[in-house]
């Protein structure tokens, strides 16, 4: 067990973190290097302002669609906000960042809040994944990579919660190993939307504003 722990906390941790960082930066650099074709039309609005507006306005669904996508919106926010809170405010995570990455920590949430947030995030993730599987259009649009991403995140979250007792090292190591697999898989999957959503929204928003489209 000690050998496995030394491997996961040593070489494999550095490898997975390096793949994550190099992969994410590389893919973003590649996307940005493609640039955009210069529009020859007369600008009808500020492209920069349009880009910023689109990045934030898309957080709120259009009223016309909300009734039809209510479940997806609620589940989407439950999962994404929940995951963000767990990732950055769960005490074991902050301790890990402090020890292995940053050298400093910050206030964490109490255990009861951890459990409530986990439950909300789980409910959101399960509903989103079920929709992907059951909605005829989503099912056709989804590929194996989407399902692998969902399953991997589910098991990373699950093993983290199963290790909450903090009385078995093996459970913590399983969680750590799956989290490292996720780090390695991340840059090569649709999970990159964590970063690329800003650029894609901004790109579309800038184009719309340039052409005077209010959307």
């Amino acid at each position: 067990m000690e050998t496995i722990a030394a491997f996961l906390e040593g070489p494999f941790w550095y490898f997975s973190a390096a793949v994550f960082v190099v992969g994410v930066v590389g893919r973003l650099a590649l996307a940005l290097s493609l640039g955009s074709s210069k529009s020859l039309s007369v600008p009808r609005g500020s492209a920069s302002a349009g880009a910023v507006r689109a990045v934030f306005s898309r957080f709120v669904p259009r009223r016309d669609f909300y009734r039809r996508i209510r479940l997806e919106v609620i589940a989407g926010y439950a999962f994404h906000v929940g995951l963000f809170v767990l990732l950055f405010f769960a005490a074991p995570h902050v301790e890990f960042y402090k020890e292995y990455i940053l050298g400093f920590g910050w206030p964490t949430m109490p255990r009861w809040a951890f459990i409530v947030v986990s439950e909300i995030a789980f409910a959101g993730l399960i509903v989103l994944w079920l929709r992907r599987l059951l909605h005829p259009v989503s099912r056709k649009l989804s590929d194996a990579g989407d399902h692998i991403g969902s399953i991997l995140i589910f098991f990373v979250m699950l093993t983290g919660c199963l290790a909450l007792g903090e009385d078995h090292e093996s459970l913590r190591l399983i969680h750590l190993f799956l989290a490292q697999l996720l780090l390695i898989y991340f840059p090569f999957s649709s999970l990159m939307h964590t970063f690329t959503f800003v650029f894609s929204r901004g790109y579309i928003g800038a184009g719309f504003a340039h052409h005077g489209v209010k959307a």
Partner: protein
């Protein structure tokens, strides 16, 4: 040569030797008599009164403890041992065997029953039985229930089934993970159950025709279809079993997970039994549901997979619903 004193001592020893067994016999008789007078053949434990008092517990208001809380002045909770025996000797083994028995009954039923009718989609028509939201809700609840069932069974039966296979260290980790996961997913199940009941209750009230369906056993043995609406009586019984069984599991689970409201030890023990028995019954019912929703009734699984069922299947198993759908023009052409 023996002196006179030595001879006298020898003679005295010889003359008193016969006294020893007599004295031993007298003492034994007296001891037995005293012991019998004190209530039996056993030698009394000098601390018996003390331990009896400890087991009975102090009268209310007499004892105190530096640690405040319910049961803090109780040294030995005698009811706990009775509860443990009830759980270990009856609930766990009988519950485990009941589940195995249910699987056996279903297997036997599958082997002896008349082969169920298959619907290969030759009608070329389908009806939407469960839209997306209904299926998402069903699988959301089914997924959480399955997770809770597996983790709960590990906690109830793992000591007898898994521990001998994997050893104490691995089982310790499995049990710890099961306990944390079970407690975590419990509230998620309550949310899914609530949404499920709110969504499906209206279509599960008993109506005319349900008694006739029940009287004919749903035609399961005869192989003849019995008239039914959107849900047949068997499905309605399952729905209300899930509703009330789920309610019992949820309430007892909340009492167990949040021991913050002054729950007594006896109440917690009772809730553990209610929780376990209700869960075992629901798991057994779920085996039947899974069988009938898949290989037991070919064509049924489509209802919860794509949401659409073959029109012939609908006509055979839910003729009244099929007629309604026909009247409302809800029968569609099957996608090619």
């Amino acid at each position: 040569m023996k002196t006179g004193t030595t001879v006298n001592r020898h003679a005295t020893r010889q003359s008193t030797t016969w006294l020893l067994p007599v004295v031993w016999l007298l003492l034994t008789i007296c001891g037995t008599a005293v012991a019998e007078e004190q209530g039996g053949g056993a030698v009394p434990n000098p601390g018996i009164e003390l331990w009896r008092a400890v087991r009975e517990g102090p009268p209310p208001g007499v004892s105190r403890s530096q640690v405040e809380g319910i049961g803090m002045t109780t040294l030995i909770a005698e009811g706990g041992e009775r509860w443990r025996q009830l759980r270990s000797n009856y609930v766990a083994p009988w519950g485990g065997w009941a589940l195995v028995g249910m699987l056996g009954v279903l297997t036997l039923f599958h082997l002896v029953r008349k082969s169920p009718e298959r619907f290969d989609g030759s009608s070329g028509k389908v009806i939407v039985r469960f839209p997306d939201y209904d299926r998402i809700l069903h699988w959301f609840m089914a997924g959480t229930f399955l997770f809770l069932a597996i983790s709960g069974l590990i906690l109830l039966l793992g000591r007898y089934v898994i521990l001998p296979l994997v050893g104490p260290q691995a089982f310790g980790a499995i049990a710890s993970a099961s306990k944390e996961g079970h407690n975590l997913f419990g509230p998620v199940f309550i949310v899914s159950l609530t949404l499920f009941v709110l969504r499906f209750a209206q279509r599960n009230f008993f109506a005319r025709g349900d008694l006739a369906w029940l009287a004919k056993g749903g035609g399961m043995l005869s192989g003849k279809h019995v008239s039914a609406g959107f849900f047949n009586a068997g499905e309605k019984i399952l729905f209300w079993s899930i509703t009330f069984g789920g309610l019992a599991i949820s309430i007892s689970g909340l009492i167990l997970v949040f021991p913050l409201f002054g729950q007594s030890r006896e109440l917690m023990q009772l809730m553990l039994l209610v929780h376990g028995i209700a869960a075992l019954v629901l798991i057994a019912f779920t085996f039947g549901h899974m069988y009938l929703g898949s290989i037991g009734l070919p064509g049924s699984f489509n209802a919860m997979n794509t949401g659409k069922v073959d029109a012939d299947w609908a006509h055979a198993h839910h003729d009244r619903w099929h007629r309604e759908a026909e009247e409302k023009g809800l029968i569609e052409k099957a996608p090619s």
